[in-house]
Symmetry: C2
Subunit: 167 residues, 2 copies
């Protein structure tokens, strides 16, 4: 994988770094509970060391991997793969940036009067995040085809192999 990102739809885009993160997490999940150094993971995945390193730091801050420093240090998953969701990964890698509504800076916008639209997009956004929260690393890896309950998105996710691809 690691998608050649040139032609992905801007919205709903998965940044390369997020993708790297998934690949790396997949490794950590596969190789048992073993500890792996950044160097090892870089080699295993084929990602450049500096970049892999950067990603791992992000995952560390996000609490998805646990690290030990010094000689014989390395990284492990901080929790079972089934307890790590897609949003977790995205948030960890793409920063702690909040979901800022226009509401948080009222008046900044200028077009607010007649506009009921902004709120709706925010809700869409949040809804997607929720759905993404139900997609677990185990599913992303492909180990677990379908999640149990809720998970509107996850259901669709697990249900079919080849989906329609829009032009």
């Amino acid at each position: 994988m690691v998608l050649n990102a040139e032609r992905l739809p801007p919205m709903l885009r998965i940044s390369k770094l997020t993708d790297y993160a998934t690949v790396i997490l997949a490794r950590l999940a596969e190789e048992g509970a073993g500890q792996h150094t950044a160097v090892e993971l870089a080699e295993l995945t084929g990602i450049g060391l500096p970049t892999a390193s950067k990603v791992l730091k992000g995952l560390q801050r996000g609490g998805l991997v646990a690290s030990t420093r010094g000689a014989r240090g390395g990284y492990t998953l901080a929790r079972p793969a089934a307890a790590i969701s897609a949003v977790d990964i995205i948030d960890a890698v793409e920063g702690p940036l909040g979901l800022t509504e226009c509401a948080s800076h009222p008046g900044q916008c200028g077009l607010e009067p007649s506009c009921r639209v902004g709120r709706s997009w925010q809700r869409v956004n949040v809804a997607i995040r929720r759905a993404l929260g139900d997609v677990k690393l185990t599913q992303l890896i492909g180990r677990e085809a379908n999640a149990a309950p809720a998970a509107d998105l996850a259901v669709v996710l697990g249900s079919r192999p080849g989906l329609r691809v829009r032009s």
Copy 2:
């Protein structure tokens, strides 16, 4: 609205242009079936004329609005608001760019061997698009609180006013 985009999560981000598009479409939907020039719409929405114009061109190409040129020309919705979905808007404004899987250029990636991850993200992506296809302009405008059937995302969308905001 027109969200002040500085602090939105990169992924799941709605580009400003898409937001503008929604605001403009909302106007076209509200003002009956009337025809409006780019100038009028710019004034009504508060968006700069060149920008509004650009957005309208995109919507035209995407088939969401119909245009007539020349004196007394202008724009109208190409179909009823209930038949225009969020994905339609996004696609129209953010380009005709396809959903390119690694699959379409096999071998480009280099890390393909051990990687089952890419596909999954693609499926997530497609799943979100599907869900977004069920969110109609009428809902974005707020005229119709909740859609009828299907629409996993739409259900969540219509259900609650103020949702949890992640840090």
